[in-house]
Symmetry: D2
Subunit: 478 residues, 4 copies
Amino acid sequence: MSNLREECGVFGIFANETCDVAKYTYYGLYALQHRGQESCGIVVNDDGLFNSYRDVGVVNDVFTSERLATLGFGNMALGHVRYASEDSTGRNNAQPIVVNHIKGRMAIAHNGCLVNSYELRNELEMKGSIFHTTTDSELISYIITEERLKSKTIEEAVSRAMYRIKGACSLVVMSPSKMIAVRDENGFRPLCYGKLPDGGYVVASESCALDTIGAEFVRDIKAGEVVIFDKNGVRTIDEHIGKAPNKLCIFEYVYFARPDSTIEGCSVHDARVKAGEFLAMEHPVDADIVMGVPDSGLDAAIGYSKRSGIPYEIGFLKNKYIGRTFIAPGQATRVDKVKIKLNPISSVVKGKRIVLIDDSIVRGTTSAQIVKLLRKAGAKEIHMRLSSPPFINSCYYGTDIGSKENLIAYRHSTEEICKIIGADSLGYLSLENLNKTACGGSCGGFCTACFDGNYPTEIPPERPKNRYDSKISESKNI
Amino acid sequence: MSNLREECGVFGIFANETCDVAKYTYYGLYALQHRGQESCGIVVNDDGLFNSYRDVGVVNDVFTSERLATLGFGNMALGHVRYASEDSTGRNNAQPIVVNHIKGRMAIAHNGCLVNSYELRNELEMKGSIFHTTTDSELISYIITEERLKSKTIEEAVSRAMYRIKGACSLVVMSPSKMIAVRDENGFRPLCYGKLPDGGYVVASESCALDTIGAEFVRDIKAGEVVIFDKNGVRTIDEHIGKAPNKLCIFEYVYFARPDSTIEGCSVHDARVKAGEFLAMEHPVDADIVMGVPDSGLDAAIGYSKRSGIPYEIGFLKNKYIGRTFIAPGQATRVDKVKIKLNPISSVVKGKRIVLIDDSIVRGTTSAQIVKLLRKAGAKEIHMRLSSPPFINSCYYGTDIGSKENLIAYRHSTEEICKIIGADSLGYLSLENLNKTACGGSCGGFCTACFDGNYPTEIPPERPKNRYDSKISESKNI
Amino acid sequence: MSNLREECGVFGIFANETCDVAKYTYYGLYALQHRGQESCGIVVNDDGLFNSYRDVGVVNDVFTSERLATLGFGNMALGHVRYASEDSTGRNNAQPIVVNHIKGRMAIAHNGCLVNSYELRNELEMKGSIFHTTTDSELISYIITEERLKSKTIEEAVSRAMYRIKGACSLVVMSPSKMIAVRDENGFRPLCYGKLPDGGYVVASESCALDTIGAEFVRDIKAGEVVIFDKNGVRTIDEHIGKAPNKLCIFEYVYFARPDSTIEGCSVHDARVKAGEFLAMEHPVDADIVMGVPDSGLDAAIGYSKRSGIPYEIGFLKNKYIGRTFIAPGQATRVDKVKIKLNPISSVVKGKRIVLIDDSIVRGTTSAQIVKLLRKAGAKEIHMRLSSPPFINSCYYGTDIGSKENLIAYRHSTEEICKIIGADSLGYLSLENLNKTACGGSCGGFCTACFDGNYPTEIPPERPKNRYDSKISESKNI
Amino acid sequence: MSNLREECGVFGIFANETCDVAKYTYYGLYALQHRGQESCGIVVNDDGLFNSYRDVGVVNDVFTSERLATLGFGNMALGHVRYASEDSTGRNNAQPIVVNHIKGRMAIAHNGCLVNSYELRNELEMKGSIFHTTTDSELISYIITEERLKSKTIEEAVSRAMYRIKGACSLVVMSPSKMIAVRDENGFRPLCYGKLPDGGYVVASESCALDTIGAEFVRDIKAGEVVIFDKNGVRTIDEHIGKAPNKLCIFEYVYFARPDSTIEGCSVHDARVKAGEFLAMEHPVDADIVMGVPDSGLDAAIGYSKRSGIPYEIGFLKNKYIGRTFIAPGQATRVDKVKIKLNPISSVVKGKRIVLIDDSIVRGTTSAQIVKLLRKAGAKEIHMRLSSPPFINSCYYGTDIGSKENLIAYRHSTEEICKIIGADSLGYLSLENLNKTACGGSCGGFCTACFDGNYPTEIPPERPKNRYDSKISESKNI
């Protein structure tokens, strides 16, 4: 129900033999679908011949069985799911992108957001470069291509490119014969790899994608690491490792990642349960039940219940059949949109003092509607608890919040927000404790800029909006 | 994950004025989608002109915004979602059906299964009747039409028809000017009605559909009752009420109905929690966590945890993006189908003694796979608990189980089943306690034939299979 | 470009063995597509199991290769293409219809229009019959079913039914083991049969469908004849033959049938060329070129040119890519709809005195636009010639003209029409000569009621419009 | 029925005000559909914002009314229809392409084929360029972009680019504020412009597209001319004009162009009639009728008839309902594919000595099947006449013939071909006379390399096939 969106999920497979890599990728993308529902794509590498398909839509809609069959077999494949911000929607911007350059073909799937894309684009354009899309992926493929001219190998080119690109960049590159996985020096976005039962390797944004296809988790790609998968096995270029502090986006634990994933050695579910526990300590309240807003508040609700001793309950029924083509109720009906998706279970909430757990409040409108639904269903008191601190700053590393003005916590105090959403009390998890949720903070540093404004990198200047951002567009799939 | 299927959900709206009844029905069907995903349909009544659309598929696929718009506005509408057994699939059998007879048009939406359909069909055919479908709905519309010739009103015809049809029949009939809701004398399937904020009425299989569109629940239709909605308001024909004992299908509480629905005054969620509590008393075990199989085992798991004191945990991540067109992994991949849909959260289950709650075991294959997944994720012990007794008899009232031979409990003892599915222990809820879950049994009698073989009606003779059942068919939507 | 519409084309195949009868039918329907573009359907009979698919749309859209494959193989099949008048559109009314009755399954494909359908429907309804559609086919299947109860065989039932149904009825009936082809006693609509190279038989509305699949034309079904195809070969029930005068719709030659078809021994193309020749004799004019309005005026233009000695020319380019989903130009553009479809070839028409041949004028609007296009392209004189007499009466046998008021010739004299469409002269073929076009009139009688009002049967009373006609409807495919 | 394919049709509109330019383009593409049926696209320019959609399929399939609506209004638009050779199919290669460069956005629609694309691509790649497609359009957009860096205006950049690109290039370029139409110095492919009734201009491959939308033809773009359309009206850069001899592809008159188009002042229909006349003089024969193979042989048949005095006849019925998704008959049926599309009219051909006119023979297989069909329908003699000389050389300017080995005339003498196709005699039009068909040859020079091997430009070296051509691909729309 949140309005925060992660920008992407990436997947890559290097098999030991020609097989149905498209289908492995298809299942991998299903597991990563929560990271982006705007468009998706798969590119199969059949011994150097690249066969790709990308379109607007979720995996289930884009890849029919006929469509998947046209991709054929191969020994490598890349996949991508994408959420797109307003200024880069459309089929054209779908990934993975596939390009030809002097050394042949290359495919790229990228998760993250560069902070120097404007400068890089300008530099390239001054040399006569043309851009088909508004994606960082295209930019990155240019940079790699330029470096390729000065390098002996594709991995060398990728490594050299890392000196030029700044910001969040979890990347998988596929050449005719190699798959290369890269994470920027801060490691903003997750990326890990695993081993297939028959040999061969899989790279994915989250470990849940490895689980799905039966691959065994090996380890996270390190911040700054370049890992090469080819017929000789796995090897690493480590020259960027340790150059900058680890700054994994902490919001991956709070909301983005799937609870069954493990990132940097910490279970996402556990981190959320832990957050719920801290929340119970920071903001205790006398109440009858604890319940979470499905699905993002459920894990933390378990933690709050455990620590507080207040019974955990299932207080909402979430309609699981609402799909992309759902038709919102308009003026002609008196139907409440949130109610269609989320129905309170009256017998659970009636007359109860409720602790209601969610991961965060962005605009506040959904929270207000949910509180209203519960009141109408007879809730006596509603104590809202959020498993993260107030979200008050823009993110330049891949989380799309539109304008800062959209953030209710940027404009209002906690007391005001409590009133606006109509709760009886409101409590945010402190940043201090949030930092301890994932493995008790032992696993390394996080980027918490959205909460405290400490940006690990330079931040991009205000870009002239009327230049590229919304000027090129393409009809969405309908 | 179950293999048991309810056959239908019905919805009807009688508005006080011409409005977007199609859209109300659309949202109502979304709320009832769990009762049938094979086909669906809506018929709008615009002052006597019936405009309908039916097709194979879920609401989200069948009703695009263009499609919905073609149905136009009206003052009444019927809707239907359907699960179809093997011998009656296809677009032709989708409901509501719309027919013309001597007095004009009539639409019918039916949930249930008649036990004398073979006799009725024979009788009608001897008079020259023809059948376009293999549905009970068509049969019922014939019977009502015959009675209409001898009756002054449509409601009289419907009431007379009830003497001829035997079995489960929750029915909504729409004539040019009236909507009539009917429940058979045993009341096998649920049916209730509510009031719209602006006046007007809504009939639905479950109360959750009333909630969804903001209607206020009034009451259940009584077993044997015929309720008429027209411009004069609501009235009842009560001549069939009390003629036979109440025999609501108890499986509605166990599995079919949505937890946020209230049937015969009992919350479905509460009944399931209660079942979990009884289960904890009947089959206690020393364990570390209680977890439910999503989604049907979650509520009972809450109850088991509450009563036993063993902590409730979220142990599975269910992939919510798997749709109807999902392509199952074939021979060419080594991917496990269940794993794509259901991933154990390792950090939760690893090294744990687990109480695993589900509503029932039908074939046993899914349970076996789930147990295997948990073992692989490191579970130490798995104690399976079912919130209903062993399912051992055929149902003739609308639950499709295919052949009795499919039922693992029909062929095996509890000990054998425990071994087959690979659990450390296995416990079923007793029928005695199940009967007490819904309102402590205070709400009236249940049909429990699937557990104990006590059929409230005559059961149909073995039908000559090669006659109608599978002989007429129609291409499914592809 | 005409506004006159034939109501249907029928096709049936009885193969000697199980084979891809669906595909034969598919090709047959392609050949008959000009007889109806609103909906189509195929039903395959696989040894008694009927597998059918029907939908709104042309053959090319409805039958994808996946769809066709789902119909499977069989030894018999029926097909149907349909044009639907305003009051019976929609998927529900698509044919062939498939019903179950006391003796099993039956499928029916019908071309024509009964004149006593209102009486028959009333009679059936008084007995309790219900109707799913507004088609004559459903009515006919009821009548056959009633007679089946009193008959030993299906063919006897069909023959008995013919005493009860009045009007135009070219029919193919399929039972589990037989295919029966029937033509009403006047033989209003064509129907013929042929032999497959491997044995087996094909029935079709026009011989072009036989040509398409490589079947050898045997002969037309006679007016009043009932022909039975089964494992014993072909045989006839002749009791209705000769009971009434032959009254083949003469408009089949003028416009409906495909020029490469042969009906009652006369080539349709030849009849049209002949009409053009008569036209040249009846309405000679001093001109530079003769050209036809594509496609319906081309054959007659050849005849006019031949007889008059004025050179034949190709004066229009007809855009062949305009499909069903073509988006008509609206107010926002200044584009002429007719011009998109039909572009005059300037170099041909510029400065020329033109004889312009078409088959008929219905509303007159299209003719006026065409004349205007030619003037704009520089034509000096335009002499319009029609290869049929003024169309002034309603048809009750399957030609849909909407209201008589739509007919320009019903409201205006030839002189007035000439002025309205803007031609320099206008000439209609006389009925006397039209009667001589098909085989010089030697082939038997025609129904010419649309021209002279001599209806061969009683005509139906004005039907109470608010009863069935437009009251039941169904969303069109979108 | 031919196997020769033109590679593209282009369309551009510069309106005087914001209006439904997408719809004008849509109709323009309908008129140009014969020039390419593989993919199509439209890009709308709304005051600098480019909104585009491209996909595999014909205009009728790709642009539904919803899709067209998403393109919105604007003051300029480009459109493109494309036939794709084997090595560049797929949605990715669809045009117009839209790119961003240093000066903003640019869209390009191209018809033709460069002969130095390999060199240009190499040169660009050496500088680090990447390619998303295998089209010349992308190459051209790079060249224009490079020149843009050294130029004051976009038109200067386009003009400078023309010094670098060699071969066939009829191009429309759209910048935020200008539309620029270009034809290479030889003028291989046609391009013309016209004036809209309300002011504003239209550029199109053929004049028929101007007719369709009601624009008035102004003139052809000259070989080597760069025409700029902007708010100041129309102006020309003429520095490339006259640098090279006019070499319009003569096959545009023979087959590619629509008969109602006028190219370089000559009516295509007239040129074909003229070709028929010359053919009658060169290859006279004693026969009963002249008929053309629809649609490409019809115009020349008129000419042959006129000159020879042998009556013109319509001898084939071409099925106009066969669409892109037509399912070809397979092994399981004995149906003839050609027969489904083309049925001889028996009464016309039976017992006749026939002159059969077609535009050319490529592989010979279709001609052989047609001759066979006519024989089976009873033709006594078949004298095949082709309105062009034997096609024996590869084309490097946009006509796709696959390998030279496919050309029957490359491998066989006329006598041999006559035998292979089974005709009684065979006659080709001489090149000398073909050169006189269009305006008696007065209109300037033609490229006739496919007939005589005189290539007006250097021809490209054999390209290393395994590099780009078939290596990058994309799933076709299914």
